[in-house]
């Protein structure tokens, strides 16, 4: 291997921490000098050290550009991370979010100066409510998990309003659920009761039936579920839950598979969050921000949190406090300061208008077609637990054909990195051992899918004879496999000035 003096490798630039390259006296901004007038701090001037390093603009730009090139991204290649819906993020969305009339707007400006923003929220609500066939939407939740909390708190409020607050505490959550579902239920003060999956990757109807009872507040189901399958008995389950006096929370993370083709409202759903950063193409940004508007059924709509939107003839206003709420509204509270993720509303509505009702339907169909195409190409080469029938927008495979040769899910994932792909979601859902959850989305071309399938098939072949190749992967990424155990055992969560002294001393 060619070694270099610089530590760089061709275009790949080594880059130290800002604490190692910057200094407290350098800065990348020019500001006028303060006048030096007397202060009004009442003696609370900072005495603590402030060792924040500064960089000049050229150094700062280079720092982040160099870092960026160590990342994989949708714009760079196929990113089939199941459940995460890594679809193309249109650039028009970004441009619209930066319009002065949206970006330079304070959440507490007088209402007469933000009518355009409120109209946008009203229009977004109309799209979400119409697409899902629900009664209302709470826009403010800031991500999917936050939307789950919003829905579960609405359910709680409805139950309390019925006077069953002390008795209905149990929430049924399938074992295949995303971790946020049980975590949310618990955070909202519910008791989580896990329900099994059946052999077909679906919620076990018998188990649900048995577990339903007067203490059940709700069921939290994902549909299409995390195995990439539509829950065929969903309507029946909804009716059973309703009959038992409970509510039906639907995790809408996979709504992109059915948008425009199926309305959750027609399935008996009472509450469902919509990850705008999944179905409606707002960028994931390396972990966020997202947005999790939560649609509500007629039963739950009165309990929607503040702020909510009210139209008075020509003008729109926000109800921002519980005391300001209309007589028929019984908001359960507030999810966050201000009005939610406006920047994401702009992007999502831009996307909706671009695709239109016809295009969104096509989005769902192409996502499902792409997944089924991959399933057809791959199922002979990998374990495909539920591969005997069509999937929705995701293909669930496992490492059962690799394991006998000493290669498991994580190794395949790392080998894919060398091949220039972001791995699929691994080891999720938990109901399948060594799960490989592939979500192609609708924004991949057939050529890209074929290339990916060819690589996976070639790797499956190679696994038969060359486990070492997989165990040593990745070799071509900016770093080799990272020691996650060490990171957790001896957590080092920040840089400390002592390191600089030590480095200088060495």
């Amino acid at each position: 291997m060619t070694t270099t003096v610089s530590g760089n490798r061709g275009l790949l630039q080594a880059e130290n921490l800002i604490f190692e390259i910057g200094s407290e006296t350098r800065t990348g901004v020019d500001l006028p000098a303060p006048k030096g007038r007397s202060d009004r701090l009442g003696g609370l001037k900072r005495t603590a050290p402030l060792p924040l390093p500064g960089l000049s603009e050229p150094e700062a730009v280079r720092h982040y550009v160099r870092l960026s090139q160590k990342n994989y991204a949708i714009d760079l290649g196929f990113f089939p991370l199941g459940s995460c819906t890594m679809k193309h993020n249109p650039r028009l969305n970004e441009r619209m979010a930066r319009l002065e009339g949206f970006a330079d707007l304070h959440p507490l400006q007088p209402e007469q100066t933000v009518q355009g923003a409120l109209m946008l929220m009203e229009e977004l609500s109309r799209w979400l409510v119409t697409l899902t066939g629900m009664e209302a939407v709470a826009l403010s939740p800031k991500a999917g998990a936050h939307g789950e909390a919003c829905g579960m708190l609405a359910i709680k409020a409805a139950i309390v309003a019925r006077g069953e607050g002390e008795t209905r505490k149990r929430v049924l959550v399938p074992s295949s659920a995303h971790g946020t579902n049980p975590a949310t239920a618990a955070a909202c003060g519910f008791i989580v009761d896990e329900i099994k999956g059946d052999a077909d990757g679906r919620v076990d109807l018998v188990d649900v039936t048995e577990k339903l009872g007067p203490d059940v507040a709700a069921i939290m189901m994902t549909n299409p579920n995390t195995c990439g399958l539509f829950e065929p008995d969903i309507r029946k389950i909804a009716d059973m839950v309703h009959a038992a006096g409970g509510y039906f929370y639907c995790d809408g993370a996979n709504y992109n598979a059915i948008v425009g083709r199926v309305r959750p409202g027609d399935l008996g759903v009472d509450a469902m969050h919509i990850n705008l950063h999944k179905t409606f193409s707002t960028p994931h940004g390396g972990g966020g921000p997202g947005a999790g508007p939560t649609v509500l059924s007629a039963a739950l709509a009165p309990f929607a949190p503040v702020p909510y939107l009210v139209r008075d003839g020509e003008t729109l206003r926000l109800v921002e406090t519980e005391s300001g709420a209309d007589p028929d509204a019984r908001p359960f509270g507030r999810m966050c300061a201000f009005h939610g993720q406006m920047g994401m509303y702009v992007r999502a509505l831009t996307y909706m208008l671009s695709h239109g009702a016809d295009g969104l339907r096509q989005v769902a169909e192409d996502a499902v077609l792409n997944a089924n195409y991959l399933l057809a190409r791959l199922k002979g080469h990998f374990g495909a637990p539920f591969g005997d029938r069509p999937c929705m927008h995701e293909v669930l495979l496992d490492d059962s054909t690799l394991k006998p040769h000493g290669v498991e899910t994580v190794d395949l994932a790392k080998a894919l990195i060398d091949e220039g792909y972001h791995p699929m979601t691994t080891y999720f859902p938990l109901v399948v051992h060594g799960a490989l959850l592939i979500e192609p989305t609708e924004t991949e071309s057939k050529a890209e899918l074929d290339r990916f399938a060819n690589v996976l098939i070639a790797l499956a072949e190679r696994a038969k004879t060359d486990a070492a190749h997989f165990k040593a992967a990745p070799r071509l990424a900016p770093l080799r496999r990272l020691d996650e155990t060490r990171a957790a055992r001896q957590p080092k969560l920040r840089w400390r000035p002592e390191e600089a002294l030590r480095a200088a001393a060495e």
Partner: protein
């Protein structure tokens, strides 16, 4: 349709490969009656030009802050963000990637998060910080829940200076989780009352400094009251920039420091997305919510970064997780850390000083007007005024004179009381002419 690569030929070929006659075959699992046979009743797809026109029309129905003499704060602040910040966060490799689950091809995001955590810890003078919360208010709610876990108690005391929206958010989350909220009555400065409210059941005392009235508070007495009672001190703040000039909560005994980071690197954007900063003591880190980036080495011994201590998190711990948070404020943290790196200590201190001076100048100019009283005893870049009239009417009247004069406190509570109190803020973006214009307009309105 411009975002869809499949052509009709592709679709036909793929259906054939799959062995389906039509898409209906693939949706066969859906109950018949739930399948829509046509698009819903919403407009059809449109070109960029058409969509851009529509969105621009909506945008033009707003009055952007920068088109007025602008003095609105109360939890969101208008600052100048260097052009390079927005350029950098729009880089594909940052914008269009996910949570860094595969660290070998996510070192860019991970190193930036590690740097962010360190900067937040330095700014607040705390030991460690997480990789962000949704915003300051949800962060404060998480802090309350964390304090309850750490202390195994259920009583949460909040100062009357806490932003009413934050209070409502904390109340909602804590009620969901079954905690008890003791909210002191609204007060500009209630240090002593807060200290008195702590008792042996108290999990956390929550104070904000700067608080919604702009008041900055010496937390040391409250900290010792809290610690004496075995409670944690949660120190919130409305404006992260303040710590460029004022003593940080970490240096005054806070156990958790949590607040809104928007003012560094992020646009106003009508309230979101923002970025919650969350710092704590090392010993409590395993009870902290949210992602944490940590240092480690790769198979060749090279330094690298990973998400760590994930056994706290929902995807591992499920109903026992420290929080249900998954997606956080990724790209906003990048904007924050990039802006902070451009500032550095020198730039941050100067920027903070400029803000404080603008606010002092503004306070001088406005309190020179008959009947205007300054309520806030000590402040950074924001303060509360008592006016001789209802604050909402004054704000409307100022608006017709080209001034956005602040936030009527009453708007935040909706409850009776404080109708004449106006929250006013000044930043480095306000010119002396803006301040003069405000004073002139206010004098007119109150005359």
């Amino acid at each position: 349709m411009r975002y869809l690569p499949l052509t009709d030929d592709d679709r036909a070929a793929m259906l054939a490969a799959v062995g389906a006659r039509s898409m209906d075959d693939l949706y066969a699992g859906v109950p018949r009656e739930a399948v829509l046979d046509r698009p819903v009743a919403l407009p059809a797809h449109q070109g960029e030009l058409q969509v851009e026109r529509l969105m621009t029309l909506l945008a033009s129905c707003n009055l952007p802050a920068g088109r007025t003499a602008f003095f609105v704060g109360a939890g969101a602040y208008r600052h100048h963000v260097p052009a390079s910040v927005d350029h950098l966060i729009q880089r594909s490799e940052f914008l269009t990637t996910y949570t860094p689950y595969q660290p070998e091809i996510a070192q860019g995001t991970l190193q930036a998060l590690y740097e962010f955590q360190t900067q937040v810890a330095m700014l607040t003078d705390m030991e460690v910080a997480n990789a962000s919360m949704y915003d300051g208010s949800t962060g404060m709610a998480e802090a309350a829940l964390m304090a309850a876990r750490v202390t195994r108690r259920r009583r949460i005391v909040l100062s009357g200076g806490v932003h009413p929206h934050y209070l409502a958010t904390v109340r909602t989350a804590c009620a969901g989780a079954g905690l008890d909220i003791v909210a002191l009555p609204p007060a500009v400065d209630d240090e002593a009352a807060v200290a008195r409210a702590v008792n042996a059941d108290t999990a956390a005392v929550i104070v904000q400094s700067p608080n919604v009235f702009g008041t900055i508070t010496d937390l040391r007495a409250i900290a010792s009251a809290a610690h004496g009672a075995g409670a944690l001190l949660v120190a919130g703040f409305t404006e992260a920039l303040a710590f460029g000039l004022i003593e940080p909560a970490g240096a005054m005994g806070a156990d958790i420091v949590v607040g809104e980071g928007q003012s560094i690197g992020n646009a106003l954007s009508f309230g979101g997305p923002y970025v919650g900063l969350f710092a704590t003591r090392e010993k409590y880190v395993r009870q902290a919510p949210g992602r944490l980036a940590g240092e480690t080495v790769d198979a060749d011994g090279k330094r690298g970064f990973v998400l760590t201590l994930s056994t706290r998190e929902q995807h591992i711990r499920r109903e026992k997780a420290t929080s249900n948070i998954c997606t956080n404020s990724g790209l906003c943290t990048l904007a924050w850390t990039a802006h902070m790196t451009l500032l550095g200590a020198a730039g941050l201190q100067r920027l903070a000083a400029l803000n404080h001076e603008a606010a002092c100048d503004l306070a001088d100019a406005l309190t020179a007007i008959d009947g205007v009283e300054l309520l806030t005893p000590r402040f950074f870049n924001e303060f509360a005024l008592a006016l001789p009239k209802r604050a909402d009417a004054v704000v409307d009247a100022l608006l017709t004179r080209g001034v956005m004069g602040g936030v009527p406190y009453h708007r935040l509570t909706g409850a009776p009381g404080f109708e004449n109190v106006l929250l006013v803020c000044a930043t480095e973006t306000n010119t002396p002419e803006d301040i003069a214009a405000y004073a002139a307009a206010l004098a007119e309105v109150l005359a």
